[in-house]
């Protein structure tokens, strides 16, 4: 079943367009091929796909950590790296620094003193429910709390776009649900743009207003699914028939994408 790309309702201005973007690594692997994708201001867009479909590569291209072999990234207006927040698969915290200093880091690198940064850091920690943990070091925190610190650090510079690379993949389900809820709450309050890489159908449908399904070998956009369910989404939505139907729809598209992916192996990124 080939799904025609759909557009989400409620058009907002474009933030970034990937036009015919391709990436070929020096070992000959084509990570991405002819990717066309428009990201609009305020989108919560999930990139969903099997391993090896190039979703992490796409994220690194958007972040500017890597440059495309072909095609262009067309930003609306000027965007520099200060406007981009990035949350990695692991919390990626400085193990020797406490929670406050970890969140302060992006501001510190911009030359903002501890005292000047304190209000922003404190506010961000409150937003991720970590008030009171300022002096804890990462090893004293649970996996979920570390991820909260990581999100606070990415958000402390008030980026226009937040890129998340399977941030909750290593967490247990209860923690993941909680972080999903808190992330949505944060996004609704601030209305920044999110590009969220995941291989979980359920997570992508719960969070996003747009799910872009990718296929592998070579990595490409397979189809797009608009998730029109209203926000705020909560536990009621998670157990609703609508959600189940959307998950089934996304799952069907994903299965289709996997079947069209060349080669029998689905390992590695």
């Amino acid at each position: 079943m080939a799904q025609a790309p759909m557009t989400a309702s409620g058009e907002s201005p474009m933030l970034l367009a990937l036009r015919h973007v391709g990436k070929v690594f020096s070992n000959g692997v084509t990570a991405l091929s002819d990717v066309d994708l428009t990201i609009r201001e305020g989108d919560f867009l999930s990139l969903l796909g099997p391993s090896g479909c190039g979703k992490s590569t796409a994220l690194r291209l958007i972040a500017g950590l890597s440059t495309p072999t072909s095609g262009v990234l067309d930003w609306r207006g000027s965007i520099d790296r200060a406007n981009i927040g990035f949350v990695f698969q692991e919390p990626t915290l400085l193990p020797w620094a406490n929670v406050f200093d970890n969140v302060w880091l992006p501001l510190r690198l911009k030359g903002i003193s501890r005292a000047k940064a304190a209000p922003a850091v404190t506010e961000m920690l409150a937003r991720v429910h970590l008030t009171g943990f300022e002096n804890a070091v990462p090893r004293e925190l649970s996996g979920g709390m570390k991820m909260r610190v990581s999100i606070a650090r990415a958000m402390v510079t008030k980026p226009r776009i937040l890129l998340m690379d399977e941030p909750f993949a290593a967490l247990d389900e209860i923690t993941r649900f909680k972080l999903n809820n808190d992330l949505l709450e944060l996004w609704q309050d601030e209305r920044f743009t999110v590009v969220f890489v995941t291989h979980s159908v359920f997570e992508s449908v719960f969070l996003s207003n747009r799910v872009v399904v990718m296929a592998a070998r070579p990595g490409r956009v397979h189809a797009e699914l608009a998730i029109d369910a209203a926000y705020p989404r909560d536990e009621v939505f998670r157990t609703s028939p609508d959600y189940a139907a959307l998950c089934r729809q996304a799952s069907d598209i994903l299965v289709n994408a996997i079947n069209t992916s060349a080669g029998p192996h689905h390992d590695g990124h």
Partner: protein, 283 residues
């Protein structure tokens, strides 16, 4: 586990056994080596008595202790001389080792070009190099320092280089994303990340700088130009003064142990909050 918990908990036999085992191990860690040491000293004393060994061949432990007390002035002033060389060379080894490692970290090319020379310096026995140093350097202290430095700086250089290069790739990307300068990356990321490696190197270098200092004094002392502990040993050897020889030897050993303990403590204090090596094992 606190005392309060223990009174409330009723432990099953397996857990009780484990607690007992832990307590025994904790005591054993100190008592066993001490007991063996005392036994060995006692045996040493007995061997001397049973075989009527003269004290210029093997002095009894009591005699060594008496010498340590009687010759304290002489021995400790010599110890101070040796310690001065040891610490100065350790400080120089830290400055040189870390400085070179930071230089190497700036560029793979620099590291590739110069690291082999550091290895050459390390693998050539210092005793073989010393005669050359003796020709080129006049100042006695500088001579000894150079010797001890050559022996001590390599573990710091090699460990710190390894540490500076073992930064998590995502963290490096994160710094890049936030537009960190080279200096910021070094200051806030690479140097702290290298700290456990550096401290590991420092522990080795501490012992080596003492060895370097003593060996240098030995070579220099053979020419009657040194007043450190090594020269006391040579002197005592010439005079068949075995008790003083033993006393000096014990002083050097104790100094080495002390240096190791102090550096271990420093390492523990610096790393105790975050690094795996300094954390207590939890079950």
């Amino acid at each position: 586990m606190t005392a309060i918990e223990q009174t409330v908990l009723t432990l099953d036999p397996e857990e009780a056994g484990r607690v007992r085992q832990e307590r025994l191990e904790r005591i054993g860690r100190w008592v066993l080596p001490l007991a063996i040491m005392i036994l060995a000293i006692w045996l040493w004393d007995r061997v001397c008595v049973w075989n009527e060994i003269p004290k210029y061949i093997l002095p009894r432990p009591g005699v060594v202790l008496q010498t340590l007390y009687d010759d304290a002035g002489l021995l400790f002033s010599s110890l101070l001389v040796t310690l001065r060389i040891t610490f100065l060379s350790l400080v120089l080894a830290v400055i040189g080792g870390v400085g070179l490692a930071v230089l190497f970290a700036q560029s793979k090319w620099v590291e590739m070009s110069f690291f082999p020379f550091a290895i050459v310096l390390q693998v050539t026995p210092i005793v073989a190099i010393f005669p050359l140093i003796n020709i080129y350097v006049n100042n006695q202290t500088v001579k000894l320092l150079l010797c001890a430095w050559i022996v001590a700086f390599f573990p710091i250089l090699s460990n710190t280089t390894l540490g500076l290069n073992s930064v998590d790739r995502n963290l490096r990307d994160m710094f890049k994303l936030n537009g960190a300068t080279r200096w910021q990356q070094l200051r806030y990321l690479r140097l702290p990340a290298a700290m456990p490696y550096f401290l590991g190197g420092l522990k080795i270098a501490g012992g080596l700088s003492l060895i370097g200092a003593v060996v240098a004094e030995f070579v220099a002392g053979a020419q009657g130009q040194s007043s450190g502990l090594a020269s006391r040993i040579i002197e005592a050897g010439y005079r068949l003064n075995a008790p003083r020889l033993f006393a000096a030897l014990i002083l050097i050993s104790l100094t080495g142990i002390l240096i190791f303990l102090v550096l271990s403590l420093v390492s523990h204090l610096v790393l105790r909050r975050w690094h795996e090596s300094a954390l207590k094992q939890e079950r």
